[in-house]
Symmetry: C2
Subunit: 324 residues, 2 copies
């Protein structure tokens, strides 16, 4: 049985020196760059751990796992353009370093390279893996579009927000787990349970991001605290606050949202005060907890020995406790 | 046996109403828009005609043909961003109409949607079709990068230019023909001949574009004449002129390339005069002819009755004579 640490090592090794023989270099260097910036390698590691639940032979899962990591990084390259981001994992974003055109084109190439790794799947697994991958990939685009739509509308409903983060974040995590299970020759019931496990884990994971933006520790979180508040990002917390606010609180909240000139820290403090009056932190924590419990429940139902689930349970626990 | 006109009709019908049930609409409307702008549907029609060489049952070729047309249009959406183009087929480009972010994201989604159509391939054909598609898709990106690289270097060699247009244009036409042959259960020799037919046809096709930019009829060509000259685009004609020019001609050419202020029509006329002194038009026409002859030779070698090749021969003739 492999650990999450070993899974990550396998992935890092596979990615080392990737595409170094391809040309033109101007196309492939940005790809190697973004893939070399590290990160937790959570997605491909989940694929390996999921496969390993069902078989000791994790080899068939490695190429699809790499495909998923490359696809994820492709979305980061294009998202960073759309968000005008300057930093990614503490380094310059691709479009800042090489310009818009190369960032678009190298991203496109990454998407296609991902399919080259999907193609390395075992013959009988190719179609189900490709189907799972493709469905998730398109849903990620749909989630990103919904997220962009939300910027332009006044009020977002809780259920629409949850649907958006499911598409933008969860379906890819779920696809990673499902593809691992397919590569491990799991039966259909277990494959679907792994998928649901990923969906629930992913929603919890994304809600935590919303929470950490405000209640995290800047040093540990690695990002500025309160940025979602100063930028009026429609997070779960803001949506929930709008939902629960009485008339007076609604006026305060609206005033802050529309304020054109403000002292950032003051806005953060005042909105946090409002969140505190409305128990928004607790509501969010409870919802996160609910989704983690659902995920654990999905995992427990999978038809393999309890001992084998140890590592995925550990991942879930680590995510639950994460501060970054 | 189907004609090129019927092939186009089949494709247009398949594309009608495509993705109309998908949401969010903000993601899918730009995709429907670009696909509705028409065009010759040359690529997917080639897939159907190629399949039809080997079998009367062209059904297995339809979904991959649609994939190829969607992929081609995806590259147009992203290329138009990179080229800062405002018009595509006489209509606003996607990024002009919906903004950069939507153009990037809808393009990404198109690429993935293309794979959904590849997925509809028959089981035993899925892997070879996917492999062919993927190889070509990545090469198209490499060709686009080379084209961008060429903008930044002083002198491009003829062989490098031919390699670039092979990647940027020919490999996709070749993949269309190859995938049609795979869908038609052709044998490997014929599949490879169809691929080569596409490569040679594609190079001729692209060289014609260079020629038409200067010697075409604006009304028929549908584009401004001489734009490649005023923008110093490294076309085959310019590369060849640099190669053949004597010292004096080299000075004239270089002066025009580096001129910061000039009367566009004067620059066009003077460079054309130089091309005429150097027989550049004839050289290009001869090379186009060579590639069309190679393509025809590939087609002739394919192991099916002569009568069946009629339609593809017609396509080749029409392309040879094209003025737009």
């Amino acid at each position: 049985m492999i650990t999450i640490e070993l899974a990550r090592e396998i992935i890092d090794n596979e990615l080392k020196g990737i595409l170094s023989d391809n040309s033109p270099r101007e196309l492939y260097e940005p790809i190697q760059y973004i893939l070399s910036l590290g990160g937790k390698r959570l997605r491909p590691s989940l694929t390996l751990l999921s496969c390993n639940l069902f078989t000791e032979d994790i080899k068939p899962a490695i190429a699809p796992a790499i495909a998923l990591e490359i696809f994820h990084n492709f979305t980061l390259v294009h998202d960073d353009i759309m968000d005008n981001a300057t930093l990614r994992r503490g380094n310059e974003t691709v479009h800042l370093k090489w310009g818009l055109n190369t960032a678009i084109l190298s991203g496109d190439a990454m998407n296609i390279v991902a399919y080259n790794y999907i193609l390395k799947s075992r013959s009988e697994q190719l179609r189900p893996i490709l189907e799972t991958f493709n469905t998730a990939a398109l849903e990620v685009c749909e989630g990103q579009q919904l997220d962009m739509n939300f910027e332009k509308i006044e009020k977002v409903q809780e259920k629409d927000y949850l649907k958006m983060i499911e598409l933008k974040t969860s379906v890819l995590l779920a696809a990673c787990l499902k593809i691992g299970a397919i590569a491990g020759n799991a039966d259909n019931t277990d494959i679907e349970l792994m998928y649901k496990f990923g969906i629930n884990m992913g929603i919890a994971f994304q809600l935590q991001d919303d929470l950490l933006d405000i209640y995290g520790n800047a040093k540990v979180f690695g990002k500025e605290i309160g940025k979602d508040i100063t930028s009026n990002k429609k997070t779960y917390l803001l949506i929930k606050a709008f939902e629960k606010a009485d008339n007076e609180q609604l006026v305060t909240l609206t005033r802050w949202i529309y304020a054109e000139k403000f002292e950032p820290q003051q806005k953060i403090d005042e909105v946090k005060l409002l969140y505190s009056e409305l128990n928004i932190k607790e509501d969010t924590e409870n919802l996160i907890d609910t989704y983690y419990k659902k995920a654990l429940d999905n995992l427990e139902k999978i038809n393999v020995g309890n001992e084998k689930k140890k590592e995925l349970r550990k991942v879930l626990d680590a995510l639950k406790q994460r501060e970054s």
